[in-house]
């Protein structure tokens, strides 16, 4: 009986998966809402800061990331910032997304002249096509890590 029950549940699971699969013959309305994404062009100042003034999305899955702080390399801002994006990449990959899917960033950095310039350089490397997430950058009291970023990503169904 237990085996029958387990079997039934597997079949149910498959049926549910089939019912919501975007590739099936007649997908449900939710799956029909394909992701559309649009980056508003920024002013020169916004481009210099490697941010879009706004990113507009409709549909898709939204991945709400926790704040991710930089590890290792004590005192090395650029290395810590890279490690933040490496770690975000790992989390996003687990959700079928990548750094390219980031639409919003809240960046918290330790106040230090030059740190934000290093951050901009890094963002330009990660988003060479200029499709930047919409970002804010504020400086906060030093808390172990020199940088923490909280992001949101949107990925197609």
């Amino acid at each position: 009986m237990k085996r029958v029950l387990a079997g039934l549940m597997i079949v149910s699971g498959m049926a549910a998966a089939l019912a919501v699969a975007p590739g099936s013959a007649s997908p449900p309305p939710q799956a029909m809402l394909a992701l559309s994404i649009q980056y508003l062009e920024g002013t020169q100042e916004q481009k210099n800061r490697a941010t879009s003034p706004a990113v507009i999305t409709e549909g898709g899955r939204i991945i709400w990331l926790a704040g991710q702080s930089g590890g290792g390399s004590p005192g090395n801002f650029t290395a810590q910032a890279k490690s933040v994006f490496d770690r975000m990449q790992v989390t996003l990959n687990q959700s079928g997304a990548s750094l390219k899917n980031l639409v919003s960033l809240k960046v918290f950095i330790k106040s230090d002249p030059g740190n934000s310039a290093d951050l901009v350089k890094l963002l330009q490397e990660i988003f060479p096509d200029g499709k930047y997430p919409a970002s804010s950058v504020v400086t906060v009291a030093y808390a172990g890590s020199l940088i923490e970023i909280q992001g949101v990503a949107v990925v197609g169904n």
Binding site: A16, P28, P29, M32, L40, S136, T139, V154
Partner: protein
């Protein structure tokens, strides 16, 4: 009992299938977006009247606008706003409104924002200015954070919001 559970599982599967099944025709993208809504949960008297924020805003579908942090050292005519908190805050709200108009919405579509100020004594001023922006009391959810500083020297306030442009605001 076990048979009953198995029956329940089957019934729920059918329910899931029915809920997600197409209604006989394919839905174009626009139709799927219609019926989108944004609902504002009414706050306490303090939240509504004194702090100008909603405890929660619930959105369903619609177009999401992810805004960058907006700050303003000059107004739209290029006049310096250095050292003038009220003028910077008003210009930031105006900027957000302009950005949202490019996306087919307005300031009224903001559902949540994080407000950063670098001097906590300006908190009350910020709240009173933003209250005037929402005469219908449909405030975004909000966090107000005092930070040590901003990227650009002279900036006193930066606001990063998320807006949802839906068919209905409730």
């Amino acid at each position: 009992m076990k048979r009953f559970i198995a029956g329940l599982v089957t019934v729920s599967t059918v329910a899931v299938w029915l809920l997600s099944a197409p209604k006989g025709h394919s839905m174009p993208q626009q139709a799927a977006a219609s019926g989108s809504s944004v609902q504002y949960i009414q706050g306490t008297a303090r939240q509504q009247n004194e702090r100008a924020y909603s405890p929660a805003v619930i959105s369903n579908g619609g177009k999401i606008v992810w805004l960058a942090g907006h700050s303003a050292l000059v107004d739209s005519n290029g006049k310096s706003l250095a050292g003038d908190f009220d003028a910077q805050a008003k210009e930031v709200f105006a900027q957000i409104d302009r950005t949202l108009k490019r996306a087919g919405g307005s300031l009224q579509n903001v559902v949540t924002w994080t407000v950063y100020i670098n001097d906590s004594r300006y908190g009350d001023r910020l709240v009173s200015i933003r209250k005037a922006m929402f005469p219908d009391g449909k405030f975004p959810g909000s966090a107000l954070i005092t930070v040590s500083n901003f990227d650009t020297p002279g900036v006193l306030v930066e606001i990063q919001g998320i807006a949802v442009i839906a068919d209905r605001r409730i």
